[in-house]
Amino acid sequence: MRIVVAMSGGVDSSVAAALLADQGHDVIGLSMQLYDQSEGQTSFGSCCTLDDLYDARRVAAAINIPHYILNFEKQFDEQVVSNFVREYASGRTPLPCAHCNSDLKFATLVERARGFGADAVATGHYARVARDPTTGRHTLKRGVDSSKDQSYFLFSLTQNQLARAVFPVGDRAKDAVRDYARAKQLPVADKPDSQEICFIPNDDYASFVSKHAPEVSRDGVIVDEEGRVLGGHGGVHRFTIGQRKGLGLQGSPTGAPLYVIALNPVDSQVVVGPKASLERTTLTASGVNWVIREPASPVHAAAQIRHRHQAAAATIRSLGDGKAEVVFATPQIAVTPGQAVVFYEGDSVLGGGWID
């Protein structure tokens, strides 16, 4: 089968490509150039020289598959970056990787892949897809390596998208993936894992947002729950729900640590309070994607509200119209608008949506 592998130059997608090639598939490596990577090196050209693209190319050569770089700068900007900036500007904390997966990798890239005669797109995600032989429907499952599981970022894939998705490393542990890379002498075998958001230089997302939406860099005040002003700040986009560090406060009136509990972009206010104020037992979500099927009655499942969150028991009720209500059995800390809530039954993703 001809399969396109989205190669980022990291070890996971490199091993994904190598595994598929080993299995005898006709593998085509594609790397997406997603943003202008010339920042900071303007005197020399921006393309073809970047480390990750170079690594992807070296891996492709090592496993003897063709490799191409596709320019998706425009699509990435429209589908991922602009949403990212808009979300921060509205006091939310976006999850760009999930948008990139469902709106770019398993949308635009799949379409390109089909143009090249490939019916599937593989990535280096730690997740699994299983097809139910009786219903013909596809299930998205957590990766075997629970510490690396990335199913959370894939919840918005539709049945059509899952049918074309291949996750070759999903049934392996990260260590095994690295071992495989070493055994195959892939040049990226010992390359460190990428961290944080790929298009944000130095993980400084606040500067990125300020640069792309200067209007959000509005100074404002930090207030407590009673509205008392405790300090100032340089824009609500610099904060996220649950944040404790970097508030720049001299100390709370009570001496207890203070956390960001709400963001109010209209008044440019950051509301802080004690940890207890971060607790929520309910949330609603929009843009819900039901991977298996929309439940007719409330379901008991585990709901995960951010990447590094232990999914917690909850009752989930579809409100129709792409909306859902989640009621947790016990209060959860820092339910953050803009992040995803993903519903699991065991290892399987039932669905998920965007926290309101």
């Binding site: 393309c47 073809c48 191409y68 770089i69 379409e111 089909r114």
Partner: protein, 387 residues
């Protein structure tokens, strides 16, 4: 089947040229500047190549300076003349808007250092009008640099006419003949130029060898300084094997230029006709102008050229989008843009360039696979647009 239709990027070596390179690599290792037997052998190799290149471009061998290739030759011509003209108060440089990056980026570099630069527009057929040069040139112009044939669309520029305008204002005339040398007759006297760049690997010679022809007595400074190589004009130990290959390539190209030109032009025309007839929504760029015989540039409506290129490669057909970088930028082709073509044509064009080993069978293969590829890609784009 693997089809290579990207001869304007580079060409396969002719067996004769490859043999010359291999022989010189093994046997002629001496430093051409050395006094002894080994040096003399190397020097003799260079002189044989110099004569062959001289015959190819109808120039005196003593005016031929070997360089590392087209980019160095272009840099040498422009920077060398700019430096030598500075004292005369001539601080203006002119090129066409469709030059190769070797010229355009050299202009940008000099502009940052205070040189005034002007890029001449081309008309919609991809040709510089002499009137544009008449408007732009002043008595402060140091050099006018216009390519003989364009690398993306193949159009041939009216160099002789441009030269006489340049000379009337005391400016020197340089032409980048990288895409014409070896393909069509190049005669430095007939072109009236003072400087001419060419590169071996564009006409079945090896990479790493090129020429700057520099008319005797013109004002030019070396840009590589060091030893007294190339009559004190270009320092650095000569790449004798590559230059030997260049000489053989020049000799071969000259010998069969007419017959090979006619053969390749027939193939190119067959390819062009075949594509236009079988793929709806195509347009040939620069087709109405005199072109080098091997090049055609075609825009495809409603499909990403980048995708067509990859799909063709997966079918074994190598072509180019004409841009320098495989990762592309969303920048449309500067050549097609300078011709005033609309965005859908500037962003979605492919260059097919043929040469020595191209065959009719290959042309027919490409004409056979292309309609299916384009149709498939267009169908997918339509579907996505509907979602």
């Amino acid at each position: 089947m693997r089809v290579y239709f990207d001869y304007n990027a580079t060409t396969p070596l002719s067996p004769e040229s490859a043999d010359a390179v291999a022989r010189a690599t093994r046997e002629t290792f001496g430093n051409a500047s050395s006094v002894h037997h080994f040096g003399q052998q190397a020097k003799a190799s260079l002189d044989i190549a110099r004569s062959a290149v001289g015959e190819l471009i109808h120039a005196d061998p003593s005016e031929i300076i070997f360089t590392s290739g087209g980019t160095e030759s272009d840099n040498f011509a422009i920077r060398g003349v700019a430096e030598a003209s500075e004292a005369l108060g001539r601080k203006h440089l002119i090129a066409s808007a469709i030059e190769h990056e070797a010229v355009l980026n050299t202009f940008r570099a000099l502009a940052r250092r205070g040189w005034k630069t002007t890029l001449l527009a081309v008309d919609h057929t991809g040709v510089v009008s002499p009137d544009r040069l008449r408007e732009a040139i002043t008595d402060d112009t140091a050099v006018v640099s216009v390519m003989h044939a364009n690398n993306e669309i193949g159009t041939i520029q009216p160099i002789a006419e441009l030269s006489s305008i340049a000379h009337a204002h005391g400016a020197l005339m340089h032409t980048d003949a990288v895409q014409s040398a070896g393909k069509i007759p190049v005669d430095v006297a007939a072109l009236g130029v003072d400087l001419l760049s060419l590169s071996a690997h564009k006409f079945n010679g090896p990479k790493g060898a090129g020429v700057l022809w520099s008319k005797r007595g013109i004002r030019i400074q070396p840009i590589l300084t060091g030893g007294k190589h190339e009559r004190n004009r270009r320092a650095g130990t000569e790449n004798v094997p590559a230059i030997a290959g260049l000489g053989v390539a020049a000799q071969l190209a000259r010998g069969k230029m007419t017959s090979e030109g006619e053969r390749v032009a027939a193939l190119r025309d067959r390819l062009e006709r075949g594509i236009v007839a079988n793929v709806p929504g195509t347009a040939v760029n620069g087709g109405g102008s005199p072109r080098v015989p091997n090049t055609t540039n075609i825009s495809f409506d409603r499909v990403e050229a980048e995708s067509v290129l990859i799909a063709l490669d997966l079918e074994g057909v190598a072509v180019s989008t004409g841009s320098a970088c495989s990762s592309g930028t969303l920048e449309p082709s500067h050549v097609l843009k300078a011709m005033g073509l609309p965005v859908h044509r500037t962003q979605n064009s492919l260059r097919f360039s043929l040469g020595m080993f191209s065959t009719e069978q290959e042309v027919d293969f490409v004409v056979g696979v292309l309609p299916r590829i384009v149709e498939k890609l267009r169908g997918l784009t339509r579907k996505t647009a509907q979602l």
